[in-house]
Each structure stands twice: as C-alpha cells, then as structure tokens.
C-alpha cells in the first residue's frame, strides 16, 4: 500500500513543520508515507491566472510523481481541488487524461484521508486552548470538506472551539489576487482578522497554509498574539508523539 | 415614422418588420446552438417543482393557520369570519372607523350582496366599470378603500390571487389606501403551484389579461434597508377569510 505525501509548495518551502506533523501523526497510526521527490507545484497560480499551457507543464510533473501511488494525501484543500481540474486540462490527450482521472480519484486532503480513509476521528490529542477554525473556501465549498475537521476537533480533550463569525467568508488570499488587487485583498484579510479577534481565541486553526499565511501575516502586522496552526500541527502537538 | 399615419397601418407595418426580424433572430439562435431550427416541442423532463413537492398538502385548518401567520408576518392583516354577512359588517365598521369617504369595489354579485351602500349611507361607493363614461382609474385612485374577492390563495407563501375582467379592475386592489380582500376558505390552497398549474390547463385563450398574486402591503427597503410600508400600492391590506 503506497500512500504518498503531496507536500505543496508552501509547506515545502515555508512551513515544513506542517508536513512533518502529518508524517509523524500518520506514522503513529501505522501509515508510512512515501515522498516522491520529483513533485513540484500543482499549477494553481498559473491555472487561476489563465496560463493553462504553463499549468499543463506543472500538472504533468505531479501526474508522473504520483503515478504509482495508491493514495495521495495533501495538507491543502485548495491544492487537492486543483487536481480535480486536471481532466479538464488534458481532455484532448487520452494518456494524460487517464492519469488525471486516476489522480483525482486517489488524492485526499489531510482530514479527508484521516476520517474517510483511515476511519480515525480521535487521535487522542489534548490541547487545552481556546481555538477558532477558519474553513478555507476551496476545501470547504469546492472539495466539500466540512464535517471532517469539525469531527476531529470535537474529539480533542481540553479544546474549547469558539465559532468564528462569518467563518465561510474568504480571507482574501486568492493567490495572485493578493498581489494584483492588494488593497481589496488587504480589506478582506483585515475583516477576517477583526472576526478572529472577536472570538478571543488563542489559536486559529485551518487546513490550508496559503490562507493561514495570509491571516497570520495580518495578525503579525497588527501585533496580535493569536497563534496560527494547521490542524495537522495541532493534532500532532496534542498527542505529543515523538 | 410618420405621426400622421393611422395606428392600425402603423402597427401593421411594425408587424411586418417584426416577422422579418424574427426569422433572423431565431435562425441566429439555432446556428449558435449548432443545430437546425427546432420546431417541435422538446421533451421537458424537469417540468415544474420536484416530485416530492407536488404531494405536499396541509389540512384546511393548517392552511388557515399558515396563511394567517405568513400574511401577518409581512405586515398584512387577516380576519377570520364565518359568513359574508360578517364580512359586510367588518367592512362597514372599518370604513366608519377610518372615516372613509370613497369606497370602490369590484362589480361582482357577491360584493353587491354585501349591500354596503345601505350600511354606509355617508360613503360614496362605486362599483367598478358600472358606467362606461366614468374615469375609473381616477375613482380608484381617490378611494380610501378597495374591496375585491380573491380567485384563489396559497397558504405556503401567504398569497392571494386576483384577476382582471370587465367587472374586475386591476386598480381596485392597487390604488386605494386600504385594500380589503375577501377570501372564501374553499379557495385557499396549500402551494403556489396549485394556483399556477391551472393556468397551463386553462390555456392561453382563457387567461385574464392581469393576474396578480398579492402577499402583503406595498413595501420598500430601498432607503438604508429600512422597511417602509405603502410605497406605491396599498399600505394596509386585509384578508377576510370567510367560511
């Protein structure tokens, strides 16, 4: 059984701790992750900007990297959903189209993998803090990951989950949107952080490092002390596995 | 276009132009849809509400309760009465209370039978379109009260339906300050679809020119999303549920 880690760019370059938490947490449940080093980016930046030819180049490296995997698991709902666009990109190319369909069927976001595939809802974590959860748009709306993180969080001992007002509102990241339309994006992330502050949570948890990087950046800019974590990190820290 | 041209001639000319444009317009659609012009009705497998909905029915008491709740929630008034006589009494009392001077009603035998003229000797009461020389919309516009009978109603949305005819003006339920709708209980259905589907069955030729589904008083939220009642239509509307 080959379960491969699709690390995604941000967790690779900026937040390796997220990948490390996933690897160790899953290992504790007997899942030895495989890491194909030839993987690069899912291609979302170029896809969303309209550069589909360039996207195909990136997509092919991903399709090749995971060709022999039985399961692929990723710490991002957004990058996982990007794989669902691959069949559309290769609709005129039977070879790559077949690989695209296969990858779409076997790729799971981290909490999907934990709950749907492994059937785990309680990792035995203890995390005695006030936590609020931001459901990232692509993961929740498009990929449909809504219940899994809630189920996992509800089982964490000592954790007080505070609902985030207007939780479903986009944080304003949107990839190149944050650069091209920086003032609109800035207004959106400021509003998101206002809502986070209303909860008085000590920790913000989510499933997508892009959104969390955006929110954490604004929190730090404003000198706020809220800790920002991926759910994998929170669970890993909570079980204290070494 | 020449203004001196007679209207029938002018309309005839417009009609000819329209038929020429129509051909090109429809051909453009089918060309873009990449198929020949479709002239036979296509199978429409998704017609109307989802299947589970068409079996949905409330009991008469539920219909009355729900209609009342829904109509009142948006600012309408509902009065439950047993007989048309009670309705006549209610209208007369109400007209006197508000000091009404003009009342206009549809020209229908059920409304004539209310004998409002006898009950309200000081109120000028007009029966819609009873005199061909009268300016009927002006009469309705100056009326304090308009009285109509509903052709049907849907409890689910809290809606009454009124239709136009020679004896039934659209203005009567629209222009007066207060609109009073008499709704016989046996015309109160559960779903809006029960009022709409018969329109398909009656067929084009038999439809009235105006069908109006009224769910409460005229309202607007256009200024700071602040609810205002009675913007253009009646700000006060009563449904008298009779029977």
């Amino acid at each position: 059984m080959k379960v491969s880690l699709f690390i995604t760019c941000l967790s690779d370059a900026i937040y390796p701790r997220v990948g490390e938490a996933m690897v160790r947490l899953l290992a504790a449940h007997g899942v030895q992750l495989d890491f194909p080093p030839v993987q690069t980016c899912c291609g979302q930046p170029s896809y969303n900007s309209g550069y589909w030819e360039e996207t195909r180049t990136a997509a092919k490296t991903i399709l090749k990297a995971f060709e022999s995997s039985d399961f692929v698991v990723s710490p991002s709902g957004s990058c996982t959903y990007m794989v669902h666009h691959y069949p559309e990109l290769f609709k005129d190319d039977p070879h790559w189209l077949q690989l695209a369909h296969e990858l779409e069927a076997k790729t799971y976001e981290f909490t999907q993998f934990l709950v749907q595939v492994l059937g785990i809802t309680d990792v035995g974590a203890h995390f005695p803090y006030k936590v609020t959860y931001h459901p990232s748009c692509h993961g929740s709306r498009l990929l449909g990951v809504r219940e899994e993180p809630m189920t996992l969080l509800s089982q964490v001992r000592g954790l007080e989950l505070v609902p985030l007002p207007f939780a479903e509102d986009c944080c304003g990241f949107g990839g190149t949107f944050a650069v091209k339309m920086s003032d609109i994006s800035g207004a959106m992330v400021s509003e998101k952080v206002d809502h986070i502050k209303e909860t008085e949570a000590q920790v913000l948890v989510g499933l997508d490092m892009a959104c969390l990087m955006n929110i954490a950046g604004n929190l730090r800019h404003r000198g706020e002390q809220v800790r920002v974590m991926h759910l994998a990190e929170l669970l890993y820290e909570g079980v204290g596995v070494t | 276009m020449n203004n001196s041209q007679s209207t029938p001639d002018w309309l005839q000319q417009l009609e000819e132009q329209s038929r020429i444009s129509q051909q090109a317009f429809m051909d453009n659609i089918s060309t873009r849809l990449r198929r020949p012009r479709m002239t036979e009705a296509p199978a429409h497998p998704y017609r109307g509400a989802p299947e589970f909905w068409s079996g949905f029915q409330w009991s008469e008491q539920q219909r009355i309760d729900k209609f009342t709740t829904h109509f009142q929630e948006v600012g309408g008034h509902v009065v439950r009465l047993q007989t048309m006589g009670e309705a006549a009494e209610f209208i007369a009392d109400h007209a006197m209370q508000m000091g009404a001077r003009y009342l206009v009603r549809q020209q229908q035998p059920e409304l004539a039978a209310l004998r409002l003229e006898e009950r309200l000797p000081d109120v000028q009461i007009s029966s819609w379109n009873s005199d061909p020389d009268e300016a009927w919309t002006a009469r309705a516009a100056e009326a304090d009260i308009g009285v109509v009978i509903a052709d049907g109603a849907a409890a689910y949305t809290g809606t009454v339906m009124v239709t136009s005819a020679a004896q039934q003006g659209r203005s009567v339920s629209l222009l007066p300050t207060v609109c009073i709708v008499i709704l016989p209980v046996d015309r109160l259905y559960t779903r809006l679809g029960e009022l709409l589907i018969p329109m398909d069955e009656i067929g084009r030729e038999n439809l009235p020119a105006g069908m109006h589904f009224i769910s409460g008083p005229s309202r607007s939220s256009d200024i700071e999303n602040d609810l205002t009642i009675g913007v253009h239509g009646p700000g006060i509307i009563y449904t008298l549920l009779v029977g």
């Binding site: 059984m1 992750l33 748009c137 944050a178 950046g217 | 949305t157 398909d200 105006g210 589904f213």
Partner: protein
C-alpha cells in the same frame, strides 16, 4: 447622467476610491449581510434547498438549450394575445423601436418600473434626449436617477446611499426641506409619483420571466410600481432579455420559489403579476396597446459556448453580490458596468463579446466560490472568471511581465531539481531582509502584500531537504498498520478499481 463616467479607469482604481469611502463600505456591508442572512434563513425554512436549486438549474438549462423553440413559441402566443413583439439584436435597434413607439404615441412622459435591461441599453438617456420625461418609479431607482447614477446593486440600486444623502436629493426635487426620515421620504415619493403614473403616456417595464406556452410575462416586485406601470398608461412597452423564457406556469413555481428567497429572503415578493396581453376590450383598466421588445445585445454570443452558455440561466436575484467579499468592500460602481458583483464581472465582458472590456474586471475575485454556492441556478461563476482570464491570455491580451513570470514558473515546475535549487537561492537572497522569520519591506511584489501583512520567511530547511532524516525516523518508531485499517484501505482500492476510475469526488 453620464454612464460613461463609471467605466473610466481600471477596476483597481475605482475600487481604491470605494475602499477609501467608509460610508459606502459600511452601507454595502450592512445591507448585504442582512440580505444574505435573510436568504439563508429562507432557504433553511423552505427546506430541500439543494433539490430546488438543482431543479431550477435543470429548467433553465433545458430552456436555453431549446431557446429557439421556446422563444418562438412565446412570440407566437404573445402575438395571439394581441401583443406587438419586436426584436432588437443590439442597443441601437432596441432604442430605435422604443423611440418609434414613443414618437407615434406623441409621448410626453414615460414612467418606468425597474428594469436592468433598460439600464444596460441606457434607454432613459435616449428618451430624455428626445425631450420625453422619463421617470423611474422604483424608490431606489428614482433616487439614483435624481443623483444621475447607475444602479450599484441588481436588486437594491441605491444600496450605496444613506438617508441623509437621499433626503438632500429628494429635498432638491421637492423644492422644500425634507427630513432624513425614511417614512417621510417614501411618502413624498409616493405622492409625487402618483401624479406621474396617472399622467404618463407610456409605461415601461422589464420582465422577470416570460412564459412560452401562454405568451405571458411575469413581474416580481414589492412596491406596486410595476403594477402601476402595467395598469395606468395606455401603452405598455416591455424590454425583455431574450433568455428570460421559461416553458410554463408550472415552471414558474420553481422560479418563484428560488428568486425572492435568494434575492431578499422573502417567501414571495409582495406582488407577482402575470400579464397576458393588453387589456381586454371590456376591461376598465390596463394598457390598450402592449409592446414587447426582445433584446439580444450580446446574449446570443454565449449560446453554444460550453464555458459561458450557463450565464444565460441567471435569474438576476443578486444573491452572488450579497455573499461576495469583494463586492462588499468595493461596491457596485467599481465594476464599471450595469451589472456588478460576480455576475457582473462575468456578464459585462461576455455581453461585450468578450473583447471590448479587456480590463481587469475578471481579476477582481479571489475565486472563493461563494457566488456559486449562493446561486439559485448553480452558475459556476468562479470557473467562468478563470475562463475569462484564460481567453485574455490566449488572445494575447495578457500582461507582459505576468506572461514572462508564468513561463519562468513552468520552467521551474517542470523539474523538481530546478525548484529545489531555486528554493535554496531564495533562502540566501532573503537573508538581508528577514527579521524574526518575517519580511516587512514594502518593495516589488511584496509592496501590496506587506502593506497589510508581514510576509513569512522561507524555512531554514525545506521539507524535501529534511525528508530523508524524517523518513528514517518514522521507519524506526512507527508501529505497523493494524489489520482493520489495512482492510478499510484495501476495500477503498477495490471499489475504485471496480468503478473504473472515472474521476469525481470521494463518496
């Protein structure tokens, strides 16, 4: 009124103006939040919302796929009802027909109910130029008409104005000081417009739905002004987008379920009117002559285009505006067209044949998908925004620097060794600007980002650099997988193989 005014500059420039207008942002935010929570409550109360959405989508898909049949059926039936039907391929043709009718009627005044098509055609301007008084009778439309502006929301046109601004506009109109009290202001408009309704020569309306099988047109409204417009003047002109068709009254039940709930959270608007032809000979009121102008104006361009045909399914409820975080911050006028919000960002370039508006409208979205989720007929607006961006690139209208950047991106992502090297180089390059794992300089591409945030620095070692070590560690420490988990996973694999892997989501 200068509609051209709103389209000056780029979306980014117009948005910057809006972002610095606190009142506008608060007003839009307040109202859209009420509307979207109202919609949510209405959908929940009604129940089975997904089934209704799917049914609405199917009815619209079916009608548009057979539009020639249904539109033609509507036209023939409307004619039998005594309606004069006209066809307008573009703005010029529509204006010409309206003016022809107005001239023949020697009209001095036209009273209108809310119609987005008439906004799109700028019909008021044409009538005013001919010296014909044109009065918007919807309260919000009347206000923006006095202000000389276009609507900033599909359903709530004056969403961007407060009661003080409105009181000022109406006071000027009245020639006397009116207090900023909603009831008094609305009362003034009621009295003023009553006279106008009774005196107008022509009533002009839009059309929410046109029923093919009976040739009827249907209007949804709350104020009663559309009823006035279709009851009092002797001539009625209805402007109708060619895609407003539904087959039957039975189908109207679905639209009447979806439209008011999605727009304002109402079970039904206060008035829903079905108009089937001009008044009957013996009727005491209603228009003696009724014209329906069927407008294309770029709509047919979407037919047969697999990426954009669903745009014609739109029922103009405005739900996508109310949930859009971008719209909430920049307001409707920033979009620079008649239609704003997510639907406007796609519809405006589409109606302009996808080429006239090669500005940055499609970029004004974070692609969060809230619009799709809110849409009562499930139009994938977030996907369409990406298609627009792609077409712009494919047709050579892309930004030169961005194109170069994307080429570089592809080179990097084609090979993980290049990527790893680039990450290493980045780590070295960032050294001078990193403080406490953060970067605050406001230069180059980080300028916009760092105005609102602190950028994170790259990690001391990337995940891939640490992998070998990590892998060895877990190999030593991890327990074997238990049999139950293995069974689950094998079961999933077997199911996947049995289904022949045709893609799609899990479960």
């Amino acid at each position: 009124m200068n509609p051209a005014q709103s389209t000056q500059g780029t979306v980014k420039e117009r948005a910057d103006v809006a972002l610095n207008n606190d009142f506008l942002r608060n007003a839009v935010k307040f109202t859209t939040e009420r509307l979207r929570s109202g919609k949510q409550a209405a959908a929940t109360e009604h129940g089975n919302w997904e089934e209704w959405r799917e049914r609405g989508r199917q009815i619209r898909l079916h009608t548009i796929a057979h539009l020639d049949y249904y539109l033609n059926t509507f036209v023939e039936n409307a004619r039998k009802n005594g309606v004069h039907v006209h066809f307008a391929p573009d703005t010029a043709a529509a204006t010409d027909i309206v003016m022809t009718i107005a001239r023949h009627k020697q009209a001095e005044s036209v009273v209108k109910s809310k119609s987005m098509v008439s906004e799109e055609l700028h019909i008021n301007r044409a009538l005013e130029l001919a010296g014909i008084e044109t009065i918007e009778s919807d309260l919000g439309e009347y206000i923006i008409q006095l202000a000389g502006e276009g609507p900033s929301h599909i359903v709530i046109p004056a969403i961007h104005k407060n009661r003080y601004q409105i009181a000022e506009l109406l006071s000027e109109d009245a020639g006397e000081e009116l207090p900023p009290d909603t009831t008094i202001l609305a009362g003034y408009v009621r009295r003023k417009l009553r006279e106008k309704f009774l005196g107008a020569d022509i009533g002009m309306t839009g059309c929410n739905f046109a029923i093919a099988e009976t040739g009827s047109m249907v209007l949804f409204e709350n104020e009663g002004n559309a009823r006035m417009v279709t009851t009092l003047p002797k001539t009625q002109i209805t402007l109708m987008g060619m895609e407003r068709i539904i087959p039957s009254w039975e189908d109207l039940e679905v639209m009447a379920t979806l439209l008011p709930r999605s727009a304002t959270g109402q079970r039904l608007t206060m008035y829903m009117s079905g108009i089937t032809g001009p008044k009957r000979t013996a009727d005491g009121d209603g228009p003696e002559e009724m014209h329906i102008i069927i407008v294309d104006n770029g709509r047919s361009e979407q037919l047969g285009d697999p990426e954009f045909q669903e745009l014609l399914n739109c029922i103009r409820c405005g739900a996508c505006l109310n949930v859009c975080p971008v719209y909430r911050h920049i307001g409707g006028h920033s979009y620079g067209g008649t239609y704003s919000g997510p639907i406007g960002a796609v519809l405006t370039p589409a109606l302009n044949r996808n080429v006239a508006e090669w500005d940055d409208i499609a970029n004004a979205s974070s692609l969060c998908g809230a619009c799709y989720e809110a849409c009562p007929v499930k139009i994938p607006l977030h996907d369409m925004l990406v298609y627009l961006r792609r077409r712009k690139v494919e047709r050579g209208h892309g930004n030169r620097w961005e194109s170069l950047g994307m080429k570089g991106f592809a080179v990097l992502m084609a090979n993980s060794k290049r990527l790893a090297l680039a990450l290493k180089m980045g780590r070295i390059a960032q050294k001078p600007v990193v403080h406490d794992k953060g970067i605050t300089i406001k230069m180059g591409p980080l300028k916009g980002w760092n105005t609102y945030r602190v950028a994170p620095s790259m990690a001391d070692h990337s995940f891939r650099e640490h992998w070998q070590e990590l892998s060895e560690e877990t190999r030593r420490t991890a327990p074997p997988m238990d049999a139950q988990t293995r069974d689950r996973m094998e079961q999933i694999l077997r199911q996947r193989r049995a289904s022949g892997i045709t893609g799609g989501q899990h479960e």
